[in-house]
């Protein structure tokens, strides 16, 4: 029997488990001699974890430094002529492209050309492919590749000294 808990139910269960001490109990059970019990098929609990925002802030700093992305986004684009916007966009494009290429490598998820036919088996990677449109029937799922997708192959960011305040993604500059 498959149990379908809603997101909030799962979340509250996870929180309850933590506070009820069921993790600790489990630890004791695992240490005790194993007693064979009739197996109960249960969906594993899914814990949601908060991501650290440090690397996101580092990435913002990288995009701002040469690509001036934060400056660009925070400016009122309507106040400027297309020429000025285009000039700024060149700085952003050149800078972001350079910084990203130094830190990230991308690969398309799907290797076929957009517009070509794609067939997905029953066990297709749900993370990497997203179905849309008229979804029905059973595998294989035949359709057309609309967007090839992107996958980060490698991502590296500078190591950070302890105590560095990463929320300053661009320091204020004071010329003497």
């Amino acid at each position: 029997m498959e149990q379908n808990f809603s997101f909030f139910t799962r979340l509250s269960m996870a929180i309850k488990m933590i506070f009820s001490g069921s993790y600790t109990q489990e630890l004791f059970i695992n240490m005790a001699p194993k007693v064979e019990e009739p197996e109960e098929v249960e969906q594993p609990e899914i814990a949601l974890q908060e991501n650290s925002t440090d690397s996101a802030m580092q990435l913002l700093a990288v995009l701002q430094k040469e690509g001036r992305l934060i400056d660009f986004i925070n400016e009122d684009i309507n106040a400027f002529a297309d020429e000025q916007v285009a000039a700024a966009a060149r700085v952003v494009h050149q800078g972001v492209k350079k910084s990203l290429s130094e830190h990230v490598t991308f690969q398309p998820v799907a290797s076929v050309t957009e517009g070509d036919a794609v067939s997905l088996a029953a066990d297709y990677d749900r993370n990497a492919y997203r179905l849309s449109g008229n979804i029905s029937g059973s595998a294989p799922y035949n359709g057309t590749l609309i967007h090839k997708g992107w996958k980060v192959e490698s991502l590296s960011l500078p190591a950070v000294a302890e105590g560095t305040d990463l929320s300053v993604v661009a320091p204020a500059e004071v010329e003497l």
Binding site: F72, N74, I77, A86, A87, A88, A159
Partner: protein, 611 residues
């Protein structure tokens, strides 16, 4: 003899004017032709942030004490160290009086004290100045620490190590580089000339194919145009015992001219254009413009259809759309300014143009006064017309006006520009056609940013294993000046004669014959000798005395100095000595004063101080 060390890696360091690169080859792999890897060098890239990058910018920055907290400048291996690399370069762009760049060019500057603390030239009071030698040592220390931190089980001091220098470095600059390495803890480092390293890299990446691309009789011209310098070499291909042999037969003069000069030139062209439209630029905008020109140049010098590239100098404030400066650079401008300015189609007899320097010039690098690289090339090939005369199989036609190269290898950042390569090749081909010789062939496929380091690593591996080695030895003969014995003529300095100490082409680990000439030196008193080199006199043996030479045959180097200190002699006593030259195992020239009929042996120093 060379100390046998259990090396796990063969390491090559390109100690560049603008970037340092470290390449390594695994010696313990099963692979017969192991590949040269590039080591990512950890360095500060922002306050408190360390990242490993394939190049270490050759910049050192000396922050004011109020500029950073101590913990903002950490490195994985140390808390207190010099600020070197990417962050140093970025900071220096905005605070130029606290940064040292191009230290390597100062290392070969004969008119300054190269061990004297002179840099940064305009340093504020709180900065303690450094010598060009010290800065080279800082870079090497950084590389050593970075390597040892990552490979603690295989410290760099125990590896086969080669450091590259420009082919045009004088003996003193070579010795300073070896000293800097030794003081950084790299006693075993041997030197290799950069154009040779580039050719090694080409050989390494061609595999066995290289033997099919060059033949006996070929003369390879290596043109290495980096950020700050242009370095030229000629390598002749001969045959020995049935296999191909490479011989470096000539190297060019030290030419302080490179890609950075081109960027600045373009920036000034654009600035002038803006000035005509009524826009006056601030200094920071000019340097921003040079940066923008570097990118635009790469597009406009490539063989494509782009006719113009918009240039944008971003504002310094946060208003990017409102405050940025816009300009444009066209293909025509780049062709006029760069191609015709730096690479004009000159005649092979063209002379490099020199004008007298202003008497009151401030201390600065001796930048080339003639920006035409093709003229420097023409004068090099003409001067080296007889470079291959002592080799079998590379005979030149009798009526040749210059040495005919048959193959060309480009290296350095400028070699990325297709139009520059095309212009140089066309010009050389024109010279060849005028001499009824066949056009030059192009040797291709090296990675111009990393070839020198990779080639050095390949050479480090070849030194202990198998593979082709370029023969060369010293690319110059060395002489000391002796005043001619003649009656004094009022108002006239006695003419100089030149005594050859080291013949052309001395191999490492060899000694020159002891010249018969003796000098009576007084113990305890420093004696200075005039010192000369010749890159064209190939047949002078040690002991030969020249009483006449053409101006362009011999060039004067900084003086050499010897002081006899001895327990066996008393101060004021006179000792007869002979001067003997040797090339040590590290590849540097060593001069000794040897007591005639005695046991005294004193080191002769290359003068690295200003006179």
């Amino acid at each position: 003899m060379e100390e046998q060390i259990q090396a796990k890696y063969a390491i090559g360091i390109d100690l560049g004017t603008t970037h340092c690169v470290l390449s390594y080859t695994d010696l313990q792999t099963e692979d017969d032709t192991p590949e040269q890897q590039v080591f990512a060098i950890p360095q500060l890239v922002a306050a408190g942030q360390v990242e490993a990058r394939e190049a270490l910018p050759s910049f050192a920055f000396f922050p004011h004490e109020a500029q950073f907290d101590h913990q903002q400048l950490p490195l994985p291996w140390s808390q207190s160290h010099n600020l070197i690399g990417s962050f140093a370069r970025d900071l220096g762009a905005k605070t130029p009086d606290r940064v040292i760049s191009s230290a390597k060019s100062w290392l070969c500057h004969g008119e300054i004290d190269r061990r004297g603390a002179i840099l940064p030239l305009e340093a504020p009071e709180d900065v303690s100045k450094r010598s060009p030698y010290e800065i080279s040592r800082f870079f090497l220390e950084h590389l050593k620490n970075a390597w040892d931190n990552q490979y603690p089980e295989a410290p760099i001091a125990q590896q086969q190590l080669v450091i590259t220098v420009p082919a045009s470095f004088d003996p003193a600059a070579r010795e300073l580089t070896v000293d800097a390495a030794r003081d950084a803890g790299l006693h075993q480092a041997t030197l290799l000339e950069e154009p040779q390293a580039a050719l090694y890299s080409w050989i390494a990446q061609s595999g066995e194919q290289w033997r099919e691309q060059v033949n006996v009789g070929d003369v390879i011209l290596v043109v290495d145009i980096g950020g700050g310098t242009t370095d030229l070499s000629l390598i002749a291909v001969t045959e020995e015992d049935g296999s191909l042999q490479l011989n470096r037969v000539a190297v060019g003069d030290h030419i302080l001219l490179g890609g950075d000069n081109m960027d600045i030139t373009l920036a000034h062209v654009v600035a002038q254009k803006l000035a005509q439209q009524g826009q006056r630029l601030q200094p920071w905008q000019i340097s921003g413009l040079a940066h923008a020109c570097r990118h635009a140049k790469e597009t406009l010098l490539a063989e494509n259809d782009t006719q113009s590239v918009p240039l944008v100098v971003p504002s310094r404030g946060s208003s990017l759309m409102g405050g940025s400066l816009r300009a444009e650079l066209t293909r025509e401008e780049v062709n006029n300014v760069l191609i015709d300015g730096f690479f004009p189609q000159v005649d092979v007899h063209a002379q490099v143009q020199r004008r007298a320097r202003a008497a009151l010039s401030t201390v600065s690098l001796p930048y080339e006064q003639d920006p035409a690289i093709t003229r420097h090339l023409a004068s090099f090939l003409t001067k080296q017309k007889f470079a291959t005369q002592n080799l079998q199989g590379t005979e030149q036609p009798h009526d040749a006006n210059f040495l005919h190269p048959t193959a060309i290898l480009f290296n350095g950042g400028v070699a990325k520009a297709g139009n520059v390569i095309a212009r140089i090749t066309d010009t050389v081909n024109q010279w060849l056609a005028n001499d009824n010789a066949s056009p030059i062939k192009s040797l291709e496929g090296i990675d111009v940013d990393q070839a020198v380091a990779k080639g050095a690593s390949y050479y480090a591996q070849v030194r202990i294993g198998n593979g082709v080695r370029i023969r060369g030895g010293t690319a110059a003969a060395y002489y000391v000046g002796i005043e001619s014995a003649m009656p004094a003529i009022p108002g006239l300095a006695p003419p100089m004669e030149a005594l050859c100490l080291a013949p052309f082409g001395m191999e490492e680990g060899t000694q020159a014959q002891l010249p018969a000439q003796t000098f009576a030196l007084t113990v305890g008193e420093p004696v200075r000798f005039k010192f000369y080199e010749s890159k064209v006199r190939r047949d002078d043996v040690s002991g030969v005395r020249l009483d006449y030479w053409q101006d362009e045959e011999l060039s004067e180097l900084p003086e050499i100095e010897v002081t006899l200190h001895s327990e066996h002699h008393q101060a004021g006593q006179t000792v007869n000595v002979q001067l003997q030259a040797a090339i040590n195992e590290l590849g540097t020239l060593v001069l000794n004063a040897i007591e005639q009929g005695g046991s005294g042996n004193w080191h002769v120093q290359f003068e690295t101080r200003a006179h």
